[in-house]
Symmetry: C2
Subunit: 270 residues, 2 copies
């Protein structure tokens, strides 16, 4: 038995273990037989990806934790939280997250490079030569180059979206064209090995899409059911088309300076 | 002008600030007038809640970061991440989050007490006398007592759901009855001042629901549009009713030992 099969076996055996109160010996042998069969049926659920998720000051926590939750269903994958230094990184709202790896220690060859968005911190990251250098070097080698929300602005500034279809937060989506990308109004956009999600909450759709690509439909269905992803927004205002006009106008106003700054970044990085 | 109005003014003035290239003086006075009007129109968007979100080892990160993102729209509210000690708290998947406050330093009177769910760590928290004591003491005084996913098992073990309608992760929902609650199959359940969400991703619906309750519909619409919450799951498997039967069976199996342990917790805490 390969180590990989051992791991699947123990993971699944735990899930299908004998119920309390069963006769122990009998239950144990039934559980073993059940687990063996489950292993045979689900060998493709196991992988060995190395996934690096970028942390930078004032990233949007939910941009990261939606996909990070779904990546948890990629059995066998290693998920790294990578920052410039080992210090805890404050999110936009001030939550401090401890990185697992620094830029210097991050493996060069990644299965997935993931970049979350955020507000002004995202633009500072896009302006930082160290961040751009890291994102570009890992992005050029990674099997999948991905982002959620305005994380795509960082990918653009690292010149990883030139000639690719991509998306971003709805209010900054047109700005992707400044980096040579072709903005697409979809929740998750896949163009060759680039996978970009729209604003914040799209990270959940984005994450499930990648789980399905990497482990197949049944594994993604389990991930969806485990996270009870049967959304029922209490209001209808989640897109430019659906929200009341005044709400769109007010929200768009908030991005005026932000988008002007993206324009300046695009000029200096192309 | 009260300090509260000052805060709204500066927050909104930033959002509606003059566009680049405008004539500075003229633009500044227009922006000031605009911001003043916006303040008058949106004074109810400002509050002063104290919100405590519980951290414990092996909580599910997304259970917390969905609601935490939406709470970010509650202008003027203070959001605390409260743990037993000041040490970083590892989530179920190993992400370490730094608390802002300890049990000992947490204010006694909270606007919202929030408890996230998780896997075995949640049951350890429910078994911990220190956690139960903290949750019960703050829950008895809080204006809103809330949870997402199996966080409701902790509320139940702290005897805060006796006689209340409530929900939990679908696979543990019936177990709420063991704590005297009335399990309800809805995504967000409100009974008097108890607000409980279903599994993991329901935290986003839950958070928006609370924003609407505390700040009104327009503010919640802005929060929804800012987070582009227009979900489009790539698969249809987010509930027991919608997922394929084999997927439901396999996923339910994973909760067999978990639910047996909840039963034992209920016996020792009632």
């Amino acid at each position: 038995m390969t180590p990989r099969r051992e791991m699947i076996l123990s993971t699944l055996a735990a899930a299908v273990g004998p119920a309390l109160g069963d006769d122990r010996d009998d239950a144990a042998s039934r559980a073993k037989a059940h687990a063996e069969k489950t292993v045979r049926d689900h060998a493709h659920w196991m992988g060995d990806e190395t996934i690096a998720m970028l942390l930078y000051p004032r990233f949007t926590a939910l941009d990261l934790f939606g996909p990070q939750h779904m990546f948890g269903s990629l059995m066998g994958a290693k998920v790294l939280l990578v920052a410039e230094t080992a210090d805890p990184v404050p999110s936009h709202s001030g939550v401090k997250v401890v990185p697992t790896t620094t830029f210097a220690d991050c493996p060069e060859k990644l299965s997935i490079l993931f970049v979350p968005g955020g507000s002004d911190g995202t633009l500072e990251a896009a302006e930082s030569p160290a961040v751009r250098r890291f994102v570009r070097s890992r992005g050029e080698e990674a099997e999948w180059v991905t982002s959620v929300c305005t994380g795509s602005i960082i990918l653009g500034a690292a010149r990883l979206l030139d000639g690719y279809k991509a998306t971003s937060h709805w209010a900054t989506r047109p700005q992707l064209a400044l980096f040579g990308a072709r903005p697409v109004d979809e929740r998750v956009v896949i163009d060759r090995n680039r996978v970009t999600g729209a604003g914040v909450t799209s990270g959940i759709d984005f994450g499930l899409t990648l789980v399905q690509k990497l482990r197949g439909t049944e594994c993604a269905q389990v991930a969806q059911l485990l996270s009870e992803y049967d959304p029922r927004p209490p209001l209808v205002a989640g897109s430019e088309a659906k929200a009341p006009k005044e709400v769109v106008t007010m929200t768009r106003e908030m991005f005026r300076d932000y988008n002007a700054r993206i324009e300046r970044i695009a000029k200096t990085t192309r």
